[in-house]
């Protein structure tokens, strides 16, 4: 035990933490891209011409029906065939973003649909453009509905990032496996990897809850206090 904590861990922890850093980068960049993709796809579903809607529908369906790991492998190994050679990190970002974007587009779509149509009418009837009515009236209300679900997706994304180890990205899991290949201490390393994932996810879920609280309008907070 003493050896594990004071000799072994200090020797390998930096490499694992560095991997955890890569995992975090993957998760945060992919999340931002997925939010943009998801929002654009959701708006496209609601406003684009029919043939675009059909394409978007196909995108969402296809991406949701193929395992993420297969998507990552396909992107990593086929893009070089058509002349686009991407480092594993960016191939991973593309795969994760498109995958999560497909799911998030559905979250946004139903969140936007949940906003009463009278809200849009009230905005438009005082002369707001469609873009303004989305920015100031519809999206702020839709976001409130979407945030808990999207927060949940972020936490599972953080864990899904482990799959990117399959396309040679030195993130947390792969760095762990590299250590194992030289030390053969599977149990110790995997325990450590598991612990780091737990700390990251747990912290993320606390942050998500804080964000939710920040976005809750004052009247709901007041109503909550009264009861």
């Amino acid at each position: 035990m003493y050896d594990y904590l004071f000799v072994w861990a200090p020797r390998h922890l930096p490499s694992l933490l560095q991997g955890a850093g890569v995992t975090l980068q993957l998760a945060i960049i992919s999340m931002c891209c997925a939010l943009v993709v998801g929002l654009l796809v959701a708006l496209g579903h609601l406003h684009a011409p029919k043939w675009v809607r059909w394409l978007l529908k196909a995108y969402v369906e296809i991406w949701r029906d193929i395992p993420l790991i297969v998507q990552l492998l396909v992107i990593y190994f086929t893009l070089p065939q058509i002349g686009i050679s991407l480092p594993g990190f960016w191939a991973g970002i593309i795969g994760l973003s498109l995958n999560l974007g497909a799911y998030i587009s559905e979250v946004f779509r139903s969140a936007i649909a949940s906003v009463d149509k009278g809200q849009r009418e009230a905005a438009v009837s005082i002369g707001m453009s469609t873009v303004q009515s989305y920015c100031y009236i519809i999206l702020p209300q839709a976001l409130l509905v979407a945030v808990p679900t999207i927060g949940g997706y972020f936490i599972s994304l953080l864990k899904d990032c482990a799959l990117v180890s399959f396309i040679a990205v030195n993130e947390l899991l792969r760095n762990g496996q590299i250590i194992i290949s030289s030390t053969f201490q599977s149990m110790e390393v995997y325990m450590m990897v598991a612990f780091i994932y737990f700390v990251m996810s747990f912290t993320a879920s606390i942050i998500v809850r804080q964000v939710e609280r920040l976005l809750t309008p004052a009247y709901l907070v007041r109503a909550h206090k009264r009861t």
Partner: protein, 258 residues
């Protein structure tokens, strides 16, 4: 002195939803300062007509101009609608007070009132807030600026709805059954607010089921049925019992003479 032209001109306005013709060639004129009441049975097209004036419903034929800005013109083959930008400019000046209030739920009362002035009219936030406070006081809710719509009663929400319309410095306010979603005891408060606006010379088009209110406050009353205005006149003319049998039957049904 020049006689002011009509602030609203509607000629032969038609609106169809699919094969269902809801407006069948409506003519309507409103002059500055006039209070126009539109009454009639449910499903007669009153609300559709009102919403068309704001272009919230797009007419399918006919002529519509607000304050000398033509919004649509032509008949079936040659029907045209003004560019979106022009429509938005006119809309800002003829806000609607909705039956179900439609206040922006995620914003406080004051924020509800400044959205249009800031984002559409381009006022500064400071100026918009000053106007908002003044309009809020005018509807008797000076102390509710920081409340959210969900914290207000129906009557208070509708007052905010009216204040939100007033904050746009409107040329004319359109009321779509403003008291139909309210409990009976809250109705008179809203009617009082509208009466005060009339006293101050606000031009208003009001779709309503409150017959005694229409009779007392309306300068002109239009009776709609099945997508057409079938009778128009001053309250005295319409309620005298000398008009068509159909109008008399309707008026007797909902507001029997004492």
């Amino acid at each position: 002195m020049q006689v002011p032209g009509p602030i609203l001109t509607v000629r032969g306005l038609c609106k169809s939803f699919g094969g269902n013709q809801v407006l069948k060639g409506v003519d309507l004129e409103v002059r500055k300062g006039e209070v126009v009441m539109i009454i009639g049975p449910s499903g007669s097209g009153k609300s559709t007509l009102l919403r068309s004036i704001n272009m919230l419903e797009r007419p399918t034929a006919g002529y519509l101009s607000v304050n000398n800005h033509e919004l649509c013109w032509g008949t079936d083959g040659s029907f045209q609608v003004a560019p979106e930008r022009d429509i938005r400019k006119v809309r800002a000046k003829v806000p609607i007070v909705f039956q179900h209030f439609n206040l922006f739920k995620h914003l406080s009362v004051l924020e509800n009132l400044v959205q249009g002035p800031i984002h559409v009219l381009g006022r500064s936030r400071k100026e918009a807030l000053a106007t908002a406070r003044e309009r809020l006081a005018a509807v008797g809710l000076a102390d509710k600026g920081d409340a959210y719509p969900a914290e207000l009663s129906g009557g208070q929400q509708q007052r905010v709805g009216i204040a939100r319309a007033l904050a746009m410095h409107p040329d004319m306010i359109l009321f779509d059954e403003p008291t139909s979603a309210l409990d009976p005891e809250l109705v008179s408060g809203i009617l009082d607010v509208i009466r005060e606006l009339a006293d101050r010379g606000m031009t208003m088009v009001i779709v309503t089921h409150e017959m005694s209110f229409a009779r007392r406050l309306g300068d002109t009353i239009h009776f709609m049925e099945a997508g057409e205005i079938i009778a128009s006149g001053s309250p005295q003319e319409l309620f005298s019992g000398n008009g068509s049998a159909r109008v008399n039957a309707f008026l007797n049904l909902i507001a029997p003479s004492p």
